[in-house]
Symmetry: C2
Subunit: 203 residues, 2 copies
């Protein structure tokens, strides 16, 4: 089917557009114009704007997994993988995987005070991501790389906060040192959680 290919290319553009203009600011007319196709032709792929938004969230999730999460799974489980996730995240901001900054950070703050299926999809994605972060931390504990009194939920909260903070400082404020600051803060935090005697992995 050609439709599937078209649909995919629509979604790639939709995700880029939404990362700068927001999921609500995403417009079928603009999207169609930028892709040189008719509004109705594009519209037929989704049936409603909400379906387009939901598909965009899913497409963004896939890009995120491909660009940030899956590569980190190449590192050995435990501390190295946790470190790979953190570095991968900062690199994902640096590389500009989404032109308007992290799609999910933007979507999270856009929909945090609004009900509906789109919000639910974002919440589910973020729950999943935080859960994966907690799991990586738990693994590092199980491997004996992190101290046993480390609270996975707390550490995941802190790391994710620093990720979002880095995205904010880098993209909004244009702070050139934002990513370096985040890396420093993360390194210190991780080292503090590491078991004594563990040789810190060089950067």
């Amino acid at each position: 089917m050609k439709g599937a290919r078209t649909r995919q290319s629509i979604l790639e553009h939709a995700v880029d557009l939404a990362s700068t203009d927001g999921l609500e600011g995403l417009t079928i007319g603009r999207l169609a114009e930028e892709l040189s196709m008719s509004k109705s032709g594009l519209f037929a792929h989704f049936g409603s704007k909400e379906e387009l938004q939901l598909a965009a969230v899913e497409a963004a999730r896939e890009r995120y997994i491909t660009e940030v999460f899956r590569p980190a799974l190449g590192a050995a489980r435990g501390y190295p993988r946790l470190q790979a996730i953190c570095r991968g995240w900062l690199d994902y901001v640096r590389r500009g995987v989404f032109p308007g900054g992290c799609f999910f950070a933007a979507a999270s703050f856009e929909f945090d005070g609004r009900p509906g299926p789109v919000r639910d999809a974002i919440v589910a994605t973020m729950d999943n991501w935080i859960g994966a972060l907690e799991k990586a931390i738990l693994m590092a504990k199980d491997e004996g790389h992190l101290r046993s009194d480390v609270d996975p939920a707390l550490l995941a909260f802190e790391l994710n906060s620093l990720f979002f903070g880095a995205n904010f400082a880098f993209h909004l404020r244009g702070d050139k040192q934002a990513l370096a600051k985040a890396e420093t803060a993360i390194d210190i935090r991780l080292r503090g959680a590491a078991k004594k005697g563990r040789r810190p992995t060089s950067s």
Copy 2:
């Protein structure tokens, strides 16, 4: 003049609306309807939507200063004031000062990939805020409450990240323990930066 009073009440509603629907999602028609006045009558106060948005940012800034920053200035300069700022921030989220969560967190992520005067106003406000945070940290160093190797810009970055992270976890994910997590993380971080021998202020 009655106009000034009306303008102010328009802006209070505009700020509330924008905190849930975004500054771009803010609509003159909706705003007028909720205030039971005509679109044109409301419009005349600002002259353009962009002016309305700029005025809303300024009004939000004033509310923020009144609700979060000024109260903290009542605490003694140094460590206590820094602590008061942090606790005040978490309380500001808990109390729901803006119905859709922190106005500036939302605005920051909404405009982080878009140029224009509104973005500039948000950047200026955030620069100001981060600067104030750094200044409070510097004061705490000067008072001898924090270790001399503490980097104010780094610590301000970390604290602000935790604030935004708390707002995210609380409002989007509905994590009831989000504020407790943030408080724990902040306390640990501040204690780590405090000079040895300093008696930690009880909560």
